[in-house]
């Protein structure tokens, strides 16, 4: 446990990757959208929806990957086991601290957006219909789970890259694409599209958040299983 905390502290020492980068990207992302929407506001003051919030989620995949690819070799030299490194990174530094704090940040920004009438432009940057549209605590929970999911996914990419290099990374991506295609084919083959679409249309955001949380746990388990085979 003490080692986990030290690993978390070690991870957060590189402020660029874990603190500065995601927020700089989000700020730039937001400013660009704000300038564009100020130039071309919605007709008759209609609400403007943009999907640009996805930017921070994409950045966190990179953060997750870097947290392994860049930080792991030195930690191992300092006698940290792979398991402790992964646990410290996943549970403390990233999934809990970063995702929870960042989720809270996004929630606060969403409240400000709501309070200022969409930054005076009726802009929906932090309020994403369906996904981040409910009460603040639900928005916070959904952002938290979403961010943790991205980090866990990115970490797994980082492990695969560290262990099997570029060829391994590409194969890993290919396997994921194939898995999605296989699921689609199975649904099609079983003539189950009707049921699937009904499932998703009736799924509440709370339910979806639960599903994402399960997926996050699965990704973490996958990363944990892979990190044990890693060599430096």
């Amino acid at each position: 446990m003490k080692t986990w905390l030290s690993v978390a502290r070690y991870q957060l020492t590189d402020r660029n990757v874990f603190v500065i980068q995601p927020w700089v990207v989000l700020a730039l992302d937001f400013l660009i959208i704000l300038v564009i929407v100020a130039q071309y506001p919605g007709r008759h003051g209609q609400a403007v929806y943009v999907g640009a919030l996805a930017g921070i989620y994409v950045v966190l995949i990179v953060t997750g990957a870097l947290s392994i690819a860049r930080q792991l070799p030195f930690a191992l030299a300092l006698g940290v086991s792979r398991r402790s490194f992964y646990a410290g990174t996943a549970l403390l530094a990233l999934a809990l601290a970063v995702a929870a704090v960042y989720g809270l940040g996004l929630t606060v920004l969403q409240l400000i957006e709501r309070g200022t009438g969409g930054w005076g432009l009726n802009l929906h940057f932090f309020r994403v219909p369906y996904l981040l549209a409910g009460p603040w605590y639900l928005s916070w929970l959904t952002s938290f789970v979403g961010l943790a999911l991205m980090l866990a996914w990115g970490m797994w990419f980082g492990i695969v890259y560290r262990r099997w290099n570029l060829a391994g990374l590409l194969s890993f991506i290919a396997v994921q694409v194939l898995a999605v295609v296989a699921v689609l084919l199975i649904i099609g083959g079983a003539h189950a599209w009707h049921g699937v679409s009904r499932f998703f249309t009736t799924l509440t955001i709370g339910g979806l958040t639960g599903l994402l949380a399960l997926l996050t746990v699965a990704l973490l388990a996958g990363g944990y299983a892979t990190v044990r085979r890693l060599t430096v």
């Binding site: 070690y10 020492t13 860049r70 300092l78």
Partner: protein
């Protein structure tokens, strides 16, 4: 006594290449051992497996009596300073600070003193440092960690002579004050020879020499002079190497020479010179693959 590091039948295969071939070796606690050999001989692979960074294909390694693989108790007492260490994007100060969090016996005073003596710029990114300075950062961590098992892989790479001397002095002083098990690989053999209590030479993944350093001093002698005299003197003795230029010959004779031998050499007008540790290693590790076995007896 449980050996600090123990390997039995340790083998590591990479695609079509045998990096370690049934290596069996025990290193006693509280000793400084030199791990010597040519590039690609298997030194780094051996250390990586000992540190749990790499897995063995076959055989077994124990450190402080237990397997080091994912063993937090063992790992906490071990530090591995690697020549090819890749560092995160951090400043010297941050890297050393981060290292201090993982070692129960870490000495802040020693780390600060060494950082000053090596002239390391605390606020520069480790990635921006020269090779020698990067080595120095590793050496600071390796010494200040005061870890029971300390592995140095090529700690001198790129270091200037002043810093190297500093490292030897500090290592010996530290070792005297806080005994630990040190395994150190280097190519600057004669320079580091004074440190070693034991010498292990590894060649093509096999151990070809494993002996107390004292036994190696005078273990082989270079005999030079007129070819006929050299031939007479070396007759019946194990000879490692012969070089001849015109009528002059130089031969390396294995085994210690006694007073009678020396008197005889003087009578034959032969010049005797004991081989340095480096020369012994060159003889042992530079030999063709065929006959390294007979050399282990030296």
């Amino acid at each position: 006594m449980t050996p600090a590091i123990s390997a039995a039948g340790l083998t590591r295969r990479y695609r079509g290449q045998l990096a370690l071939d049934h290596v069996s070796l025990d290193i006693e606690p509280g000793s400084i051992t030199g791990l010597l050999g040519r590039n690609g001989a298997g030194k780094t692979t051996f250390m990586r497996i000992v540190a749990g960074h790499e897995f063995a294909s076959a055989g077994r390694v124990t450190v402080l009596g237990a397997s080091p693989v994912e063993n937090e108790t063992v790992l906490r007492q071990m530090v591995f300073v690697r020549e090819d260490q890749s560092y995160p994007d951090l400043r010297v100060r941050q890297v050393v600070q981060a290292a201090s969090w993982f070692y129960p016996n870490w000495s802040h005073d020693l780390a600060d003193a060494l950082l000053g003596e090596f002239n390391l710029p605390l606020n520069r990114k480790v990635k921006k440092l020269s090779r020698g300075m990067r080595s120095a950062v590793g050496n600071v961590i390796g010494l200040a960690a005061r870890a029971e098992v300390t592995l140095f892989d090529e700690p001198y790479a790129g270091l200037d002579p002043v810093s190297r001397q500093l490292f030897y002095d500090r290592l010996l002083a530290e070792y005297a004050e806080h005994p630990r098990t040190v395994l150190l690989s280097t190519h600057l053999i004669d320079e580091a020879a004074g440190l070693f209590e034991r010498v292990v030479v590894i060649d093509r993944g096999r151990i070809v020499l494993n002996t107390a350093a004292d036994d190696l001093r005078g273990a082989a002698t270079s005999v030079s002079g007129p070819a006929i005299a050299v031939a007479e003197f070396t007759a019946g003795r194990p000879v490692w190497d012969r070089r001849r230029i015109a009528t002059q010959e130089s031969a390396v004779v294995a085994g210690t020479l006694d007073e009678t031998d020396r008197a005889r050499a003087a009578a034959l007008h032969l010049h005797l010179e004991p081989l340095t540790l480096q020369q012994v290693v060159v003889q042992v590790a530079g030999a063709p693959a065929a006959s390294p076995q007979e050399r282990t007896s030296a």
